[in-house]
């Protein structure tokens, strides 16, 4: 039942926010904060009470283990669709991240959103409800449903409360682009889901969309490869992997701060989750066939994102491109598939969620005071604030991967794990570490150092902003210095995943010809 509450609380809280708007925006804000706070409490409760040593993946060839929490009721019986939710260590980490960033995104839009605040918070909470649904769904139909449904409120967030950049495209353009990219890729995934279900139906005579039923679906190598490609495509667009990334900088640069925080913090992570939860376990051998290409794409994303970030003048676009670079590490780690790499991927998911949220909030606060995000109009801000620049330095260093902070751990583990399996890829990927130092220091230099435009001191952080940034900072330091609790929760899923993927990867290495050439019709 806890899982159902995790979904219902934000949905009901959102409706309440919308209705409370008529009494005053302040009520809506408080309700939104309370809603996300109770979500965080629920997640913490699950964390404290649960035993996350098991996960539902076939270990040593047979289905063992189980979800820590689950709920399953028939929904559309005729099609074998059930409303089933499940939680294991992987989901728990992501749900907690979502709840934490949810609290902070409500808090960071406290003053930014002045029009229709109640409706804004309804959309924000509904987006988060959709994201949590994605992390909990254990029925492929239900998963797809949440995957698409969360786009609608996010679309409203960008289209209604976004920024119109002077001289740039209107925010509606960015919102529609975001929606079309993800939804059409999602439809490809829906076709793949249906194909998988029908393959399973023809093999076993049972029509089901249940995740655990579909896990060991027997299928031909070619069929499996194409179905896997359908899933991979949807996640690649959302992650985003480089040829499909063009929606992300637009969406980020025009979204309100809270929108950017949850876009970078959790929406992109749904794709990483999808790769870990669906692509690798459902199609281990097909994934292993794709792995060389996927890892190349990952390396390409790392380098391309970093190089593009270097050239941006809009601070938010810069941070958006760094996200592309960091997501490249995730793609690399997922398809390397060793246990270290997978642990690193999970750490990177958490750490990037925190560091990107911190950077977007900071940029939002600077932009609120300077009324511009143009880096050319910044500079010399260090002397004009008393507290803000120190936080800026911290999150920029976190993003470049300073040892002792979460991002370093994530990237280091990914590269270490990749090196075991594919040394060449790891070496190429580590270029990203150097490039990230370059763009991070450039961002630092252009905003805080250099010649100040004026000497007038700017309004410093108030208590609310100070609290938001300190929370993020504390979590980041925790991730970097004492990651054991996180690794313990994620150990069972990563081990199960690795045990499933390793034989397939080993088998794929022995096949000399590139799989694409043979799989093409």
């Amino acid at each position: 039942m806890t899982l159902l509450w995790l979904l219902l609380i934000p949905v009901l809280g959102g409706l309440l926010c919308w209705q409370l708007q008529r009494f005053g925006a302040q009520y809506a804000r408080c309700v939104a904060l309370g809603t996300m706070g109770s979500m965080l409490a629920l997640a913490a409760g699950l964390w404290l009470t649960g035993d996350y040593s098991q996960t539902l993946l076939p270990l040593a060839g047979h289905l063992s283990g189980h979800w820590m929490e689950q709920l399953s009721v028939p929904w559309i019986a005729r099609l074998g669709i059930r409303f089933s939710l499940g939680l294991d260590g992987l989901s728990l980490l992501l749900v907690t991240l979502t709840a934490l960033l949810g609290v902070l995104s409500v808090a960071c839009s406290w003053r930014e959103i002045r029009t229709d605040a109640g409706f804004f918070y309804m959309n924000l909470l509904w987006t988060l409800a959709g994201v949590i649904g994605v992390f909990l769904a254990t029925d492929l139909f239900l998963f797809f449903l949440f995957w698409e449904v969360m786009l609608v409120p996010m679309f409203f967030l960008i289209a209604l409360w976004g920024h119109d950049i002077p001289g740039g495209r209107p925010r509606l353009y960015a919102a529609i682009k975001f929606f079309i990219f993800t939804q059409s890729a999602g439809l490809v995934m829906l076709v793949a889901i249906l194909a998988l279900v029908f393959v399973h139906y023809h093999a076993s005579g049972v029509l089901t969309f249940g995740y655990s039923d579909l896990l060991a679906t027997p299928m031909g190598a070619r069929t499996g490869f194409w179905i896997m490609l359908g899933f991979f495509f949807a996640f690649a667009v959302k992650l985003p992997v480089v040829p499909f990334h063009s929606w992300l900088p637009d969406a980020h640069s025009q979204a309100p701060t809270a929108g950017s925080v949850i876009l970078a913090g959790v929406l992109l992570k749904t794709a990483a989750y999808g790769l870990l939860r669906f692509v690798l376990p459902l199609f281990p051998s097909a994934s292993a066939q794709l792995a060389p290409i996927a890892m190349w794409l990952g390396v390409l994303g790392i380098v391309y994102g970093a190089v593009c970030a270097f050239g941006q003048n809009d601070a938010k676009r810069l941070v958006a491109y760094t996200s592309i670079s960091h997501m490249g590490f995730i793609l690399l780690g997922v398809f390397a598939g060793t246990e270290e790499a997978l642990q690193g991927v999970i750490m990177q998911i958490l750490a990037h969620g925190i560091s990107a949220a911190g950077l977007f909030i900071l940029v939002g606060e600077i932009a609120e005071r300077l009324e511009t995000r143009d880096l050319r109009k910044m500079g010399g801000l260090w002397t004009r604030f008393s507290n803000l620049p120190q936080f800026g330095l911290f999150f920029i260093l976190a993003s470049l991967g300073l040892p002792g902070l979460g991002n370093f751990l994530g990237e280091f583990l990914i590269l270490l794990g990749t090196f075991k399996a594919h040394p060449g890829m790891a070496m190429l990927g580590s270029i990203g570490l150097v490039l990230s130092a370059v763009y991070s220091l450039v961002l630092m230099q252009r905003t805080f150092y250099g010649k100040a435009g004026s000497e007038a001191p700017l309004r410093d952080l108030d208590r609310r902003e100070f609290a938001i940034l300190s929370t993020l900072m504390a979590v980041m330091i925790w991730l970097g210095l004492y990651p054991r609790p996180f690794f313990e929760v994620s150990r069972a899923p990563t081990q199960a995943l690795q045990s499933l993927y390793a034989p397939a990867a080993a088998a794929a290495q022995t096949i000399p010809a590139p799989p694409i050439a043979r799989a093409a019709p």
Partner: protein
């Protein structure tokens, strides 16, 4: 004709009788509300009797050689009756402020409904054609009902001319097929075609002409040219009827015809249908991109949607007729809701609220109406938790089952393009009116009565909203209905079974 047969025919008989009663009532005294209530009562009674017939007789009941009342016919009759009910209620709201004669609208609507019901029950070319004409002819009058409006007259004339041409194509096609097979019964045509050899090209020509005629009625590309103009010019309730009841009847008939004649065995026909489907999807979605008129946008959207539905038709598996049933149901409810909102926001005194900018900020003035229109547009776009997604899911499922990858690609690409104009329309509802332009009189003129929900049209909209929510969130009962109403080609293929009941 025996007693049970009369009972089985009762839905059609009731609507026919209602039209006579309505005519007499108009002759005695013109009273708008009375006539509208009489029509609605008749339609509601017919709907109840349809349910009773469906529930009472599981086995198909043949009425002479012309008609057959089976679950399939019952489902589509019920859909047509619901569409007619909604259109009647909306007409009442719409015509309330109209100055001319208002009552004949209901008479025409009832007659057209009878035509549609005959069509979905027909299994013979004669009843097919009679039903088609009875369906179409009143619509000419309905489209041109606002006789003092140029656009309405134009819509009526355009529909009259093109519909007559389409009918001519259909009759000629029937004649050609009859010349080779010697029968007018659907089921026999398929059997005869297998036996005869030679003369294939004449039958092909006949089938092509028939398809062209039906393509006109369904506004499939490239026979769609009349659609946007007629949608735009006709009064909104009439458009809602034209877009739903008339197309449902024609599509259901096409489905029955194709299944009973085993037509999907002929690759040429399947290829033609596939081309029509792809063309409709492309044309509908691409031409809608630049529309700033909501009614025209919905017209192009309908073209695309019938393209999607053709894919299910082509798939023709055991899943296909169920998919078509679900798709038509979701499409009908969604379209009715969209036109219902247009009707309530418009009034015939002024021009109708058609431009997208007339809807700007509707959410802040009438959250309920805006929410219904949002749900309808998102449903047409196929977003999950709306009915439209269920339809799209079924069509994709039917396509995947038969491995129609090209058509599936067209659906995916078409949906991606379609999102653009649906979202553009949706966001208009939520934008605050631009502060630069003075509070235009237009926005005031298009404001519906503050208590819109108390009107007949408003009540129907609420009912449609509830139906949309139910279909989106818990579609099982509807799926059961559509599944029970499937007709399957002979020999029957084993039905799809779900696990865990």
């Amino acid at each position: 004709m025996t007693h049970p047969q009369l009972l089985a025919l009762s839905p059609i008989l009731i609507v026919s009788a209602t039209s006579v009663i309505v005519m007499l009532a108009i002759a005695i005294k013109r009273h708008h509300a009375l006539v509208a209530s009489l029509s609605m009562a008749g339609l509601a009674l017919a709907l109840a009797s349809t349910a009773a017939v469906w529930h009472g007789a599981a086995a198909p009941r043949a009425m002479t050689v012309l008609l057959i009342i089976d679950p399939f016919a019952c489902l589509y009759m019920a859909m047509i009756l619901i569409a007619a009910l909604a259109a009647t209620a909306l007409s009442h709201t719409y015509l309330e402020r109209y100055q001319g004669y208002r009552e004949e609208m209901y008479l025409l609507l009832l007659l057209s409904t009878v035509g549609g019901m005959v069509m979905v029950a027909s299994r013979h070319f004669a009843s097919f054609f009679v039903g088609l004409e009875l369906l179409s002819m009143p619509i000419y009058g309905m489209a041109a009902y606002l006789v003092k409006e140029r656009r309405s007259l134009e819509a009526g004339m355009k529909y009259l001319v093109l519909s007559a041409v389409a009918s001519a194509f259909i009759v000629f096609g029937m004649a050609l097929i009859y010349s080779r097979t010697g029968t007018l019964v659907f089921g026999d045509i398929g059997a005869k075609l297998e036996q005869i050899s030679g003369g294939g090209s004449i039958v092909m020509l006949g089938a092509a002409l028939l398809l062209i005629g039906l393509g006109f009625k369904l506004s499939l590309a490239p026979f769609h040219l009349w659609t946007p103009d007629v949608y735009e010019g006709a009064p909104a309730p009439v458009t809602s009827f034209l877009a739903t009841a008339s197309k449902i009847a024609v599509f259901a008939l096409l489905l029955r015809y194709l299944i009973e004649t085993h037509a999907t065995r002929y690759p040429a026909l399947v290829d033609t249908l596939s081309m029509l489907a792809i063309l409709s999807i492309v044309v509908g979605n691409v031409l809608a991109l630049q529309q700033s008129n909501l009614k025209r946008l919905l017209a192009y959207s309908a073209i695309a949607h019938f393209g999607y539905m053709l894919v299910a038709l082509i798939a023709s598996g055991p899943l296909a007729s169920e998919a078509v049933g679900i798709y038509l149901l979701t499409y009908m409810i969604t379209t009715l809701a969209a036109f219902g909102v247009i009707t309530l926001v418009s009034s015939p005194l002024n021009h109708e609220a058609q431009a997208l900018c007339d809807y700007r900020g509707l959410f802040w003035r009438h959250p309920g109406l805006a929410a219904i229109l949002t749900l309808a547009l998102l449903s047409l776009a196929g977003v999950p938790l709306t009915p439209g997604f269920l339809g799209k899911f079924y069509v994709l499922g039917a396509g995947v089952d038969k491995r129609l990858w090209l058509l599936l690609g067209a659906i995916v690409a078409g949906s991606a393009v379609g999102l653009y104009f649906y979202l553009r329309a949706v966001i208009q509802l939520y934008l605050h009116p631009a502060p630069v332009t003075a509070p235009a009189p237009s926005t005031e003129a298009f404001a519906p009565a503050p208590h819109w929900a108390r009107d007949a049209g408003g009540g129907v909209l609420i009912a449609l909203l509830l139906l949309m929510l139910a279909l989106g969130v818990y579609p099982s009962p509807f799926i059961k209905l559509a599944h029970g109403a499937g007709i399957e080609p002979q020999p029957p293929t084993p039905p799809l079974t779900a696990d865990r009941g």
